[in-house]
Symmetry: C2
Subunit: 338 residues, 2 copies
DNA sequence: TTGAAAGCGGTACCAT
DNA sequence: ATGGTACCGCTTTCAA
């Protein structure tokens, strides 16, 4: 900037004025400065300017995701980006990969760079490591899982209700032996979905056979194996409720391999691409991921821009049943009942 | 930092030493400083330190993508992130959404924040707007499409060869009337894939019926409509080469709706999730997106860290045919030939 | 309208 | 081993 000022024969301050578009600069001077800027390929250093500038916004927010490459995270990322863009803000995103240490590391790297706020899909059991951020006043919004060990805004799906809705759909189509296949029960969302399953089964007076409840499935292979086992039982389930999309895909794969895809009903939690192209198309309870992301970003910017005095908020984003076929398969007539 | 120094009763410089882990600080002093830091929730400002620090690396790189939420971009993002992490670097990513203006805007926002380098999937026809970055010495790597209007590293897929391979697979299974369905021919990659199609058809002495060549398809709906039209021709194609994954999905959808999914062969460029679960499973030529991303990041860091004196490089990442069934469907016997 | 000087939060150099 | 001081690149305050 000094060089630009020298080349243009003006003071450094005038250059600053030109860059910031302050109107009180004489046009001829302005042109000279502009030319000098181009000639020297000068690019102002935003970090340096923010150092002195009031407000201390950096125009950067951070996003801690499970894995940038999975559809849930990627969609969330995009939704947050769109809102951020409207606030002239850039987004840093990082994959936590379910590694609590990585979450702490990333959060620190982002706060060191003075992100104006953080949106977090937590992988840690406890987020009290963020206490100093809260005290300093950095806005925090939690997504998908509520915060533990501190108070902050959160945006969650209606997991329990959604799971109940999926189970209800299966029951409405005549199923009584409905299996549960889900992720680690220690994950809050998985636990809520399991609760939805239990509640709906109870509400309808249906018995849960403990042999048809399978937790700890977290990839397609283990899910497929579990389904294969379940269907080898003496009294196999006639319908499956899968509580996460990888589990759903694994289940569908297993049914196809067993030649049972048109015999056993499936309703899954979480939509996934091409669910409608499969045969049968897969019935799911979908989360509105874009809306979750947009809401989280909105809450964040309200705190960044508005007062920080707002009370902590919890937004519940409704889930939606999308019947496509697999959940509407009816059970075989039970020969014993004739 | 001043406050920390005051509270600990030491000079500001000692605080700086503690933060940077300089060994020449007496342990008792170090502890006092640490305590003061915690008590005040002090977080050093990385931007400020980089201002004075030598080397002027910010530990941030930027990534300009089509759309954060599409699988190609998301996978690329993750691959770049993994390499960046090994270099203690954070990633800014932004969606260009095929809007040239947005690309320029984003690039500027990132360079203003002093990104150490840029990885770009260009949407613009000409990237000469980046000339000043090149002159300043900011490393640039182009992905998927080569740079125009400036020289820089690039990482590309073997589009022509891959397309030829897909067409070859169809021809190997007896097809002669092979249709081409692709994106805007103005897109470099689409043009290359079309060339691969033309070359392979010529090499095998197969005639291209101009009515079965359809460009400008860029979503599933237009692709599906095009397929429906093609199959209504008097002499419909017996196989389809689709040059992009949305086109492939559209084509598959149309064939299903027409009840022809087991009659008409399809080979697509670009893999997509669940391609193997469809019926028939879809034969594709897959790009190695993770490797593309990792390579791009590697080239970038070589320039960031090593000399900038390297000549511009172009890396070609091979594509791979994955036969899954749809491309191996044989043509119906032609009644006119008996 | 323009400029000089102080300062943002930190580091580098040189004394001590 | 510790501290003083100039300085990074830019904005702010205030004077000219």
């Amino acid at each position: 900037m000094r060089d630009v000022a020298a080349l243009a024969g003006v003071s450094i301050k005038t250059v600053s004025r030109v860059i910031n578009g302050v109107p009180s600069v004489a046009p001829p001077l302005r042109d000279k400065v502009q030319k000098a800027i181009e000639q020297l390929d000068f690019q102002p250093n935003l970090a340096a300017s923010n150092l002195r500038r009031a407000g201390h916004r950096t125009g950067q927010i951070a996003l801690l995701l499970e894995d940038l490459s999975n559809p849930f995270s990627a969609t969330l990322n995009r939704a947050v980006e769109d809102v951020a863009r409207a606030h002239d803000t850039l987004v840093f995103a990082g994959s936590v990969a379910e590694d609590p240490r990585r979450e702490v590391e990333l959060a620190r790297a982002f706060t060191l760079r003075r992100a104006d706020g953080l949106v977090i899909v937590p992988a840690t059991a406890d987020q009290s490591y963020l206490h100093s951020e809260v005290r300093v006043g950095t806005p925090l919004v939690f997504v998908d899982r509520p915060p533990r060990g501190l108070v902050a805004d959160s945006v969650l799906s209606t997991n329990t209700e959604g799971a109940a809705r999926a189970v209800g759909q299966l029951a409405d189509h005549g199923h009584e032996r409905i299996a549960y296949l889900g992720d680690y029960a220690t994950i809050v969302t998985a636990a809520q979905r399991f609760r939805g399953y239990e509640q709906e089964m109870a509400r309808r007076g249906l018995r849960i056979d403990p042999r048809t409840v399978r937790h700890d499935l977290n990839d397609t292979a283990t899910a497929a194996a579990a389904v294969t086992e379940l269907l080898a039982l003496e009294e196999p389930p006639t319908a499956l409720f899968t509580s996460q999309n990888l589990v759903t895909i694994g289940a569908v794969t297993a049914l196809r391999d067993l030649g049972l895809r048109h015999r056993v009903a499936v309703a899954g939690f979480d939509d996934f691409p091409l669910a409608d192209l499969l045969d049968p198309a897969v019935t799911v309870v979908a989360q509105d991921v874009r809306r979750i992301g947009a809401t989280a970003a909105r809450l964040l910017f309200e705190r960044i821009e508005g007062g920080d005095a707002l009370p902590p908020r919890e937004c519940l984003i409704p889930t939606r049943l999308i019947p496509r076929g697999s959940g509407e398969i009816r059970p075989p007539r039970d020969p014993r009942r004739g």
